[in-house]
C-alpha cells in the first residue's frame, strides 16, 4: 500500500498510449517469457510508514546492548564518543545526504569543499601530505594500503603484526586469495610486535610491514624498529592507527610511515552495529598516483574563482578499468563530511583534550581493575586509551554477567590471541564518568570473585 511513485493510473495509461503499448507488461516484452517470475514476490504487501517504523523499532527494542541501556566499555575500532547535536544537524543536511559523487563540480562544491577540508585534516593528523576522500572502513583501507605497498615495493610478501585488528587481518587474508600477497603474521610479545630478524634478502623479504599504532591491545609499538627493517628491506611501512589517540600521540607520518590507515567512525559517526563507518587513508607524496579511491583537489573556474574537483581520475576504475589502483567507486563520503564537521567542532585543542580524557579514563579504570584480585594485565607494554586484562573467567561469561549489571564490559580477545578466551579488551572514552567507572569496577569485581 505504501508507495513513492507519483504516477496516477490515468498518467500511466496515457504514457503507455504514447508508447503504443496496451499494457505495462509489454514494457518487458524483451524479457523471455520463460524466465519471467510467474507469481508475485513472496514478500508482505506494502505497509504504511508508521507500521514499518514500528516494526523496525521492535528490532531496536531487542538490542539490550544499546548504549542507552548498557554503559559501553567496548572499543576495538568502534568507540562510544560524544556526537554533538551540531554535528548531527549539519551532516544530516539533505544536500549532503541525497547527492552523489560530484561528477558535476559546478553543482557539487558543497561536498567537494567539505571533502577537501576533510583531506586536509586527515593529512595533518596522520602526518602525511595526501589523504583520500575515504574508503569503506578500517579493514578495506588496510587492504588498499597493502596493495599500494606491494605495488610500490615490487615485493608481495607482507609482514603483518598480530597487533593489527583481527578483523582487518582477516579481510587482508580474504583478499590475498585474489592478489596473491604472501602474508606472514608476526606475533606480539607483551603486547608489542617482535619482528623476526631473518635475512631480508631471502624469499621472505618483505615488501610491506603492517603494524598498529596504538595496536589492537592498545599498546604503543616501536615504530622506528619497523621503519629500520623497511629501510633495509626496501619495504613500505603501513601503520594502522586509532585516529583519536593521535590527539596526543606522535603521528605515524612523523614516525616514518609511508602509508597510514585508520577507522574514522570515532569522528562523529554512530556505532550503528558496525557500519557505515569511514576508512581513512593517507600516504607519501611519492605514492599519490597509486592512491586508491577519490581525491579532491583545488582549482579555479572559468571566472578564476576558487573551485574544487575530483582529480587524478586516471587512477580510477571508470577510466583505468582493469589497470586501476583500486576498484572502489561508491565510498563513504557522508562519513568524511561528518568527520570534517566533527573535527572542526573539536578543533586543535578539543582533539588533544579528547585524547587526553580517554587516556586518563583508561588509566583510572585500568588501575582500579588490576587492583582486583584475579584480574591481571593481558599485556604489560604501555597503553594509551585501551587495554586488555586476563581473568579466571571465560571472557564471554564475564561479558554476560556484566550485562546483567548494566555494562557492556568489553570485547573478548577470542581465539585470535594466545589464551584469548580469558582476555577482555576494554576501552574507556571521554563519555564515561568516574561514578560510572567505579560502578563498573565494582560489578567487575563481583563478577570475577
Amino acid at each position: 500500500m505504501g508507495t513513492y511513485i507519483p504516477h496516477t493510473e490515468d498518467e500511466i495509461t496515457s504514457m503507455l498510449d504514447f508508447l503504443g503499448l496496451a499494457t505495462i507488461d509489454e514494457l518487458f516484452a524483451e524479457v523471455p517469457a520463460a524466465l519471467k517470475l510467474q507469481r508475485g514476490l513472496e514478500l508482505a504487501d506494502g505497509a504504511g510508514e508508521p507500521d514499518v517504523l514500528a516494526h523496525l523499532d521492535d528490532f531496536a527494542d531487542r538490542n539490550p546492548a544499546r548504549t542507552d541501556r548498557l554503559l559501553c566499555f567496548a572499543g576495538g575500532g568502534a568507540y562510544d564518543h560524544e556526537i554533538p547535536a551540531v554535528t548531527k544537524a549539519l551532516a544530516g543536511r539533505s544536500e549532503f545526504m541525497t547527492s552523489y559523487t560530484p561528477y558535476q563540480p559546478e553543482v557539487a562544491q558543497g561536498v567537494l569543499q567539505a571533502v577537501f577540508e576533510f583531506q586536509t585534516m586527515i593529512a595533518r593528523l596522520f602526518g602525511l601530505p595526501v589523504a583520500n576522500a575515504s574508503l569503506y572502513d578500517g579493514a578495506s583501507a588496510t587492504v588498499e594500503a597493502v596493495n599500494l605497498g606491494v605495488a610500490a615495493a615490487g615485493l608481495n610478501t607482507v609482514w603483518v603484526s598480530e597487533g593489527v585488528h583481527p578483523h582487518w587481518r582477516q579481510m587482508l587474508a580474504t583478499c590475498a586469495a585474489g592478489t596473491g600477497h604472501r602474508l606472514r603474521t608476526v606475533k606480539l610479545v607483551n603486547g608489542v610486535t617482535v619482528w623476526p630478524d631473518t635475512d631480508l634478502t631471502g624469499e621472505d623479504r618483505p615488501g610491506v610491514l603492517l603494524v598498529g599504532y596504538p595496536n589492537y591491545l592498545g599498546c604503543l609499538e616501536d615504530i622506528p624498529a619497523a621503519r629500520s627493517i623497511c629501510d633495509r628491506a626496501g619495504a613500505m611501512l603501513v601503520v594502522a592507527t586509532d585516529p583519536v589517540s593521535l590527539g596526543v600521540l606522535k603521528s605515524p607520518g612523523e614516525w616514518g610511515a609511508d602509508v597510514v590507515v585508520g577507522e574514522g567512525q570515532v569522528f562523529g559517526t554512530a556505532l550503528g552495529f558496525g557500519g557505515p563507518y569511514l576508512g581513512l587513508f593517507a600516504c607519501a607524496q611519492s605514492q599519490v598516483r597509486r592512491l586508491p579511491g577519490r581525491l579532491v583537489g583545488e582549482t579555479v573556474d572559468l571566472d578564476d574563482r576558487r573551485a574544487y574537483v575530483t582529480t587524478l581520475r586516471a587512477r580510477e576504475q571508470d577510466i583505468r578499468r582493469e589497470k586501476a589502483t583500486s576498484n572502489v567507486c561508491t565510498n563513504q563520503t557522508l562519513m568524511a563530511v561528518t568527520a570534517a564537521i566533527q573535527l572542526a567542532w573539536l578543533g586543535t585543542a578539543g582533539l588533544a583534550d579528547l585524547a587526553l580524557r580517554c587516556a586518563r579514563a583508561t588509566r583510572y579504570t585500568r588501575d582500579a581493575l588490576l587492583a582486583i584480585d584475579g584480574v591481571e594485565p593481558y599485556a604489560t607494554a604501555p597503553v594509551f586509551r585501551e587495554f586488555a586484562v586476563r581473568t579466571r573467567l571465560p571472557a564471554d561469561t564475564l561479558v554476560e554477567r556484566l550485562a546483567d549489571a548494566g555494562f557492556l564490559a568489553g570485547i573478548p580477545l577470542g581465539n585470535e590471541f594466545d589464551d584469548g578466551d580469558h582476555g577482555l579488551l576494554i576501552a574507556v572514552t571521554e563519555r564515561r564518568t568516574r561514578d560510572e567507572i567505579d560502578a563498573y569496577v565494582t560489578a567487575f569485581a563481583k563478577a570475577v570473585a
Binding site: P84, Y100, Q170, G247, G275, M335, L356
Partner: protein
Amino acid sequence: MMSGSNQLLGPAAPGGKATSAPLLGRDAEPTIFELSHPGRRAWSFRTTGIPELEVDELIPVDHARSAPTPLAEVSERDLVAHFTRLSHRQFSVDLGAYPLGSCTMKYNPKVCDAVAALPGLAGVHPAAPASLTQGWLGLMVEVEEALCEITGMAAATLQPAAGASGELTGLLLMRAWHAAQGAPRHKVIIPDSAHGTNPASVTLGGYEVVTVPSDARGCVDMEALASVLDEDVAGIMLTNPNTLGLFEEDIAAIAAAVHKVGGLLYYDGANLNAILGVVRPGDMGFDIVHMNLHKTFATPHGGGGPGAGPVAVSERLVPFLPGPRPERVVDGPEGAEVYRWMTPEQSIGRMHSWHGNTLVLARALAYILVNGGDGLQKVAQIAVLNANWIRQRLSGTYDVPFDRQCMHEVVLSSRNLKQAHGVRALDIAKRLLEEGFHSPTVYFPLIVEEALMIEPTETESPQTLEALAQALELIAGEAKALPTGSMAEAPRNTPVRRVDEARAARTLIPTFDARAES
C-alpha cells in the same frame, strides 16, 4: 590585530558573511581553516570527575607529539554558518531531478532517516554478543531473506560495503568454488559495455579480463562469446539490463554456454531496479548476484557514499560465503526463534570490519517493507515506463544508438550535434544544469560516442519528465542555432562556472597546506 586601529585585522575570515550562499552571492566560501582563529572553540565534553593526569604521567614522553595537530578553531556559530553555506552550494535529489544514468538517484524516503536514527539501532556496539543484539541479527536475517526472494538466490552475505566490494566478494567466491572443484581457472569474461568496477574487480580477484564486444543490438555478441569460452574461464560478469539499459535477451543461452564450460555467472545488480518482481537473476541462471542497496533500495548516496552491496548466491556457493553470518535457529524451551552468528566451513573469510554497512541495511529493509512485493514490481514497471517515455519523446531530437525498447534507463548520443555543431555531450550536461536538472551520466558506457545516459527513476513525475524533455529539446535547438562554442559558456548560474579540471591534475592541491606551497 593592530591594537587601537579602527580595523579588526584578525587572521580569520568573517564567519558571518554569507555571499558564498548562492541565495546571496557568488563569492567562494572560505575554507574552515581560513575561518579559524586561535583560541576559538565549539567543543565541550561531559564532566567526569576523573583525576587529571598529565601526558607524561600517562605515556612515555617520546610517544607524545610536540604540539597538537592544527585543525580549525571556530565558534559553533561559524561552524554552522560554514557548513550550512556549503550545503547551499550543493545540488541534491531533494532539490530536483537527478537523472544520472546507472546511479538510480530515486527519492530517499525520510522515514528511513528516522529508522537509522533509532537509538536501539544506531547505539549498538558491533562487538556486543549475539545474546545482547538479537534485534540486529533478526533484522539482518529479514534483509537477507527479502534480498534472496527478490533475486531468486539461496543465501546472501550482507558484508560488502558497496557494489564494487560485492563484485570482489563474488569473484573471490568464484575462485574459492573453482579451487574446491580442484580446478582453478584464470579468465573472467566481461562485455565491453561493463562498468569500470567490473574489470578492476576482476584484476583484484586475481583473474585476467577477457572482453567480449556488444553486437548491433547492444547485447553480448554470442559468437564472440562462444569464441572465448573455454575450460579456463572462471565465469562471466553481466549487468542485465546492461549499461545500455537493454535487456540481454539471450541470457538463457549465455548461461547455458558458460555453465557448459564449467564457468559461473556473476550478476552486477546495479540495474536491478529495472526488473524487481518481473524477472530474477537466479531464474536467469546467475550463480552470484550483488545488489546496490543505495540504488535499488533508495538509501541516500551521501554525496558519494555510503552504500551497501550484499551478494546473494545459489545453493552450491553458500558454503563459501563470508562469515560470520547471522542465522535464525529454533531453540529454547518452547522452540522460540533465536539468532546467532555462524561461519560457513569453506568461507572465503571476511569483507568488512564488522557485519556490513548495517544502518544502510536497516534503511533498505524499511524501504522494502513500505513498498512490499507488489510495490517493488510497480517500482520496476514505472522506472521502465519513465525511461521509455523519455526515449520515445527525444528520439527525434538526439540519436538513440540502439533504438529499441529500453529498460530503466536510456542511452542517447549527441554525436550528430558534435559533428555538425561542435557541441559535446559535456556541454549539454553543463547546459542542462542551468535548466534546473542534474546532468545525465555522460561518456558512459564507453562503446557509445558522446553518450548521454538518462535514468529518470520511478519517483519522477510525468510533469518532471516533460520538463526534462523540453529542456533537452531546447538545448539541442540551441546547439544548432547558436554560434559554435557558445555552449561552452554554460553553466552560468551555478555557484561556480566550468571548472578547470586539467589544472587540478597539473598542479595538485589535495590539501589546504599544499595550496600554501603551490
